[in-house]
Symmetry: C2
Subunit: 399 residues, 2 copies
Amino acid sequence: MRGGPGQVPSFEFELVGRDRATGARAGLFRTPHGVVATPVFMPVGTQATVKAVCPEELRRAGAQIVLANTYHLYLRPGSRTVAELGGLHRFMGWGGPILTDSGGFQVFSLSQPGRGESGRAEGLVEVDEDGATFRSHLDGSLRRFTPELAVEVQEELGADVIMAFDECSSTAGGYDEARRGMERTHRWAERCRARWSELEAGKRDRPPQALFGIVQGGAFRDLRRASAEFVAGLALPGVAIGGESIGYSKRLTRDILEWVADLLPEGRPRYAMGVGEPDDFFAVVEGGVDMFDSVLPTRMARNGTLLTARGRLRVVNAEHAADPRPIEPGCDCYTCARFSRAYLRHLFKSQCLLAYRLATLHNLRFCLRLVGQIREAILVGTFAELRDEYLRQVAADRT
Amino acid sequence: MRGGPGQVPSFEFELVGRDRATGARAGLFRTPHGVVATPVFMPVGTQATVKAVCPEELRRAGAQIVLANTYHLYLRPGSRTVAELGGLHRFMGWGGPILTDSGGFQVFSLSQPGRGESGRAEGLVEVDEDGATFRSHLDGSLRRFTPELAVEVQEELGADVIMAFDECSSTAGGYDEARRGMERTHRWAERCRARWSELEAGKRDRPPQALFGIVQGGAFRDLRRASAEFVAGLALPGVAIGGESIGYSKRLTRDILEWVADLLPEGRPRYAMGVGEPDDFFAVVEGGVDMFDSVLPTRMARNGTLLTARGRLRVVNAEHAADPRPIEPGCDCYTCARFSRAYLRHLFKSQCLLAYRLATLHNLRFCLRLVGQIREAILVGTFAELRDEYLRQVAADRT
């Protein structure tokens, strides 16, 4: 795979290993800010910060690439401001690769009544052929996103990988709604590609960006396959699989990946948006996915739920009050090397800020290490063993 | 100065420099967990954590010794639990010296109606000759502290320096109340010393602890002098100057230090409790103080107020929205080396947890560096120049 329209080889995706029994694959994704070894779990830094941790900690935990949210940064501090400050990498102090979403998911989810952070009912988003009008969840102000603007905003933010603006319609809406949303997503993807090509062609000092298209089509096999075919045909640097269900319904995520697998271009990275829990990592990797992200591990951490190879640990539970053991004996994370469950519980009970950081560092390290092990297993041919062993251990602990 | 009753030379205080014009002095305070170069600013870790920062960051910011609060840790997680987990040092992952207060200040302030964290009126503390009965600010349960218990709790916590249990009476109460509080504090100090001696004598594996007495006497010169004389006569390893006013009224703090200076033993460390703002550092050091602590720099940081040599900077102000400069150009703190005012403002506006950490790291480094410079100036004979230059710059910026 080659980079943007300018033929600058800043982006390259190379497959370096495959599992024989499944679709699992290992690759190297070269970007202007470094190489990403795939499959890769991408921590989410919604507001240009992975909540509670700093860039050095991310790096030490094994993060290779982080996400930031276009919708949030467009509203605050504004993409123009970020550009004036030297772009997202400098702004947030993260020198590695960054991916921004298009804002589509947030526009369609945060603009629902009662779901905004301001607590007021902002009113539904209004979608027309040209774009989407919505109210800011911050101040209720009326805003409008078009495919072109979504690309321009992402160009200002300056991430390495940017996403096409998609209509993320509800799975509940039925076949016709899913089809209409998918078709509009396709037309929008073409407009995104056109605007991206213009911007790339006119670039001088700023590094190139890779635009990914997004496969939609709800819960319907034929729509998903049609969408995969269409997005593959756009010949963009990468393909994402999106939608309300991806990452939220385990079964459907697995099905969708299976439906589209043979239609996606082999030599481009595949990104499953919003996946998920560690248990899902194996399934999406088996489905041929190279990149995935989720707020779950970090959000759970801030709520005191710690991930371990034996399942989840609620560190705030009374049973840990005097437990001198680390969250997970043998874990190589910052937290487990230094602090006891008792201390972490104390910090949570006292609502001390360090609690959220220490818990986040553990969960991030857990996910990043697990995906690293998955990659290693693909390369040496032990993927099935690793998966079966992992899932058996988790299942054993749950019984 | 020698350590506890066991004559183990684990504590030693050595004066290594003096300012000729003022009472300012530089020393080395040896403890079982390391040497503290004085004068020293001590960050406050109320709940066995300096809010928002981790031990490595404290160390890198230049912290030598940290405080923890006996009252809070007694209530949660409990000093017995901390002891079972190997003591405060291991519990909080801080290998350097630690000082715990006696709980007196919190008992008398947090137990006032309307000041508890739980928001309910807990009722006044009841003081009798034997001790103080109060309601926990956490659950309203009835608790009782005696001088002996305060020492025992601090022995369980295991800090290097522990404080006598004092009655911290209100300055508003007048002369007679201040005198009665002071006299009771003296009787309690003797009881603390007796219990501490017993515990020290019986120690085997646990390192020795240094008990400091506390000078009280409110805003009254003759009481303060009487108290200083009394506490000096106890021949404890160190002397603290306490009271509601210390650190809260700049003028009175300065007066009190002047009243007692000639009565305090030269060869023991002097600790001014709860001081304060960087502007106060010079005054207390001039008053012969070797150690001081305050929650102000870290609390201000979490509210978005940053300390600089040119006064305070409200980083959340709109003027900083696109400012690429660090908080304080030239500052060697972690935050200033990496992040812009614009980014810090964005984190505060978005209520991202990293904001509180980055701001805290700057304010801590500012205070610790300033006190380091003060020490250096005492040693090389330029204390007056440094003070005048610092205060002139701050004053110039305020006009």
